[in-house]
């Protein structure tokens, strides 16, 4: 499906998404969610409208009730959502958790979830990370087999939408040592089982994440996805999709923070001239433009490679996330600096981008992680 989208289709989707987020969830909406300390963390009505347009099912096969437009199309939407810093279940449910079920779920699991996700009626959170820095295979949460299925013990951190999701996609260890790639298994479970304790974390970007503790949680044997101990083979490509998707969001955020800043350079005057006329700032703005364009190319290349299941997709994803991290760190810092005093105020929007930037940078691996992984992948 995905490779049937033309350039024109993509442009249409981009324009539709830009208009949608601009009208339905501008930056002001994000501020409002933040200031009212909204318990859900995103706007359910906006999410319903997004789902109506098919975005919740964008990675789901048509046979399962989705529209199957692929990663590039989802990236286009995420990029636009990054411009308005829109929080939605796109990252948690659509990009991170559901693709695992699409790829490896059995008939019952698929029927149970996929069309409901595509309708926007079901949210699933990926309960994966355990360390403060992204470490995809460092899993100490244990799933121990017993007569009734498995018993889970452990602790998960930074679970996106963990406190509002209906289900959890749990990554747990059924064998081997805590940091081995082998022995990881995936489970689709209810979030309200006895022994599960979910605590929302209040993050600097005001988005949703949760810490989840599992204390002797009994889950049915049928909740496993794929084979016992073979979870990493399913998880890794899905994580690559998630990395590319987050990089696309970051691209949009970087572009928007940059545009706001360039506009400011044109209107703010000091020494009787627009500050954008000073070469010290001019050159740095021009440099940022270059970095954004490189990140853009890298992100699009990674998304396309995922859709085409290209052999070097993982490498391209590393390139995309690493570039997006460097770019957004630079742009978010410069945006504040070039605004001067006003950039330090809560009232100025550039600060919102700075805060979101660092969270998105860490999500699914920061630049340090991806440089390291890239070096491994290309055999350095």
């Amino acid at each position: 499906m995905a490779d049937q989208l033309t350039q024109q289709d993509h442009e249409l989707l981009r324009d539709t998404a830009a208009r949608f987020f601009g009208e339905r969830s501008p930056l002001g909406a994000m501020r409002q969610l933040r200031d009212e300390q909204n318990e859900v963390g995103f706007d359910r009505e906006v999410w319903r409208e997004m789902s109506e347009m098919g975005w919740a099912g964008i990675l789901i096969d048509e046979a399962d009730g989705g529209v199957d437009l692929g990663y590039r199309a989802l990236g286009t939407i995420l990029e636009q959502s990054g411009r308005t810093l829109t929080a939605s279940p796109l990252l948690s449910t659509v990009l991170s958790a559901t693709p695992i079920i699409s790829r490896a779920g059995n008939e019952a699991q698929r029927a149970d979830t996929l069309s409901a996700v595509a309708d926007g009626a079901l949210m699933i959170a990926l309960a994966h990370e355990e360390c403060p820095r992204h470490a995809p295979h460092r899993i100490a949460t244990r799933a121990v087999k017993n007569d009734d299925g498995y018993v889970i013990n452990g602790k998960k951190t930074f679970v996106l939408d963990g406190h509002v999701a209906d289900r959890l996609l749990l990554v747990a260890r059924t064998s081997c040592e805590d940091d081995q790639r082998e022995g990881i298994s995936l489970f689709l479970i209810d979030n309200a089982l006895p022994g599960i304790r979910i605590k929302r974390t209040r993050m600097v970007d005001s988005r949703n994440a949760a810490n989840i503790r599992f204390n002797n949680v009994q889950i049915p044997a049928g909740s496993i996805i794929g084979t016992v101990g073979g979870g990493a083979d399913i998880l890794d490509p899905v994580l690559d999709g998630a990395r590319a998707g987050v990089a696309a969001e970051m691209l949009g955020s970087g572009q928007e923070a940059f545009d706001i800043t360039v506009e400011y350079l044109k209107v703010r005057e000091q020494f009787g001239a627009p500050i954008g006329s000073f070469q010290a700032l001019k050159h740095r703005a021009a440099e940022m433009y270059c970095e954004i364009e490189l990140a853009r190319s890298a992100v699009y290349a990674a998304l396309d490679a995922l859709d085409q299941k290209a052999r070097d997709a993982a490498e391209l994803v590393c390139v995309a996330k690493a570039k997006a991290c460097d770019m957004l760190e630079l742009v978010s810092n410069e945006a504040v600096q070039m605004h001067g005093g006003i950039g330090m105020t809560d009232e100025a929007d550039v600060g919102l981008f700075l805060k979101r930037a660092r969270v998105a940078q860490q999500l699914y691996g920061d630049v340090v992680f991806h440089r390291q992984r890239f070096a491994d992948l290309i055999g350095l």
Binding site: P132, M203, V204, N333, D346, R358, Q362, D366, V368
Partner: protein, 390 residues
């Protein structure tokens, strides 16, 4: 007394007089700023300040007659080292100590020194800095706040902005325009009471969540004429001289971190290190080591430069530029080491250190803006030190 004697005496005194609670990392809201309505949030902070005031060690190098400690530069350096050794909190934060006081010691009249300095060392009067205006930031000399000569007083009208802690300040040192026909040569340096009729202050919220700076409005504020420092219309040179002190002060923020956070090395080891603190990840290790190398070099530079007889404007700018950019980089490195743990805004799912880290990281972005931006410092270096044409 030899320096060695001074050190052991100081060490013993601190050991005895610095309360245990004053040897711990300090949350922002436990800083002591003094003033007419002082806040001592930490119960031991009052006695700590009072003991240091008594010894003159809130202003170690100021002359004793103005409430200072009368220490030589070498002795003051030892005092700092000994305080750092036990992680002692600075007893008093103050723009009077860091900015106005040093200026008045340089250029103030005898009467001005007697009137203003001792209350600063004792933490009795809290000062704020009225420099920036909405239209005059980097181009500070473009300021428009007027002070009209009304015979026996000045009448001040205008607006300042980004005035740090104006809402808690007792007095302000303020740049005003006394001649509208010229730019730099029409500026004067005025001191006045923030409780005067016609002064209005509105706090502004920062990205770090704190409300540390303000919009400050003056509507027909009457100021006695003897509160003008230096010559009428001679304020620009004074303003710059004070900026040099401010910049030297800000440049050291990263080194001491205001004591809010544990030392950089400890944090890096804690967040990125193994059980023994060894940082195994070679890339993080490189980032941290590079930072610490720059720290050492910067420390040496500060000692060497600040010690030179007249810390020329260009040198203060170098320290300000490098120190603040270095501090910002340092915070970014720690954020990388900390990962998700550094991204907490509030709530019990994060420990206090994590939360302080996040807020401090955000606050550090202002370091390269306050006291003149990095770009302005680079311009000063290019002009004053390198003599490059405008």
């Amino acid at each position: 007394m030899t320096l060695e004697d001074f050190r052991s005496e100081t060490r013993a005194w601190l050991e005895e007089n610095c309360p245990p609670g004053m040897r711990t990392p300090m949350p922002d809201d436990e800083r002591v700023w003094g003033g007419k309505n002082p806040v001592f949030k930490h119960p031991e902070s009052k006695v700590w300040m009072e003991r240091m005031v008594e010894r003159g060690w809130t202003a170690p190098q100021w002359p004793r007659e103005y409430g200072g400690g009368g220490l030589s530069r070498a002795e003051a350096a030892i005092l700092t080292e000994e305080m750092n050794r036990i992680s002692a909190r600075p007893p008093l934060f103050s723009f009077g100590l860091g900015m106005l006081g040093p200026l008045l010691l340089d250029i103030g009249t005898q009467a001005e020194k007697e009137r203003y300095l001792a209350p600063i060392t004792r933490g009795e009067i809290r000062w704020c800095q009225g420099y920036s205006e909405p239209g005059a930031g980097s181009d500070l000399a473009g300021l428009q706040t007027r002070a009209e000569d009304k015979g026996d007083h000045y009448l001040v009208n205008g607006q300042k902005v980004w005035t740090s802690y104006a809402h808690h300040a007792d007095w302000i040192f303020c740049l005003v325009r006394t001649d509208t026909s010229v730019k730099h040569a029409g500026i004067s340096f005025l001191l006045f009471d923030m409780h005067s009729p016609g002064v209005e202050v509105r706090p502004i919220k920062l990205i770090s969540g704190a409300s540390a700076f303000c919009e400050t409005f003056f509507d027909n504020v009457k100021v006695p004429k003897d509160q003008l420092v230096g010559e009428v219309n001679g304020g620009w040179a004074i303003a710059k001289q004070l900026l040099a002190h401010e910049r030297a002060m800000i440049s050291q923020l990263g080194a001491r971190g205001g004591n809010r956070l544990p030392p950089f090395k400890d944090m890096a080891r804690r967040y990125a290190g193994d059980a023994n603190g060894r940082i195994a990840d070679p890339l993080l290790r490189d980032l941290v080591a590079r930072q610490l190398i720059n720290d050492r070099a910067f420390e040496s530079t500060s000692k060497r430069a600040i010690g030179s007889a007249d810390a020329a404007a260009g040198v203060a700018s170098m320290l300000k530029y490098y120190g603040t950019e270095q501090n910002k980089r340092k915070m970014e490195v720690i954020m990388k080491c900390a990962g998700y743990a550094g991204l907490g805004w509030e709530g019990e799912e994060f420990d206090d250190n994590d939360l302080v880290l996040c807020r401090s990281w955000l606050r550090s972005k202002g370091n390269s803006i306050e006291g003149g931006t990095s770009e302005v410092q680079l311009n000063v270096i290019a002009k004053r030190i390198l003599g490059l044409p405008d």
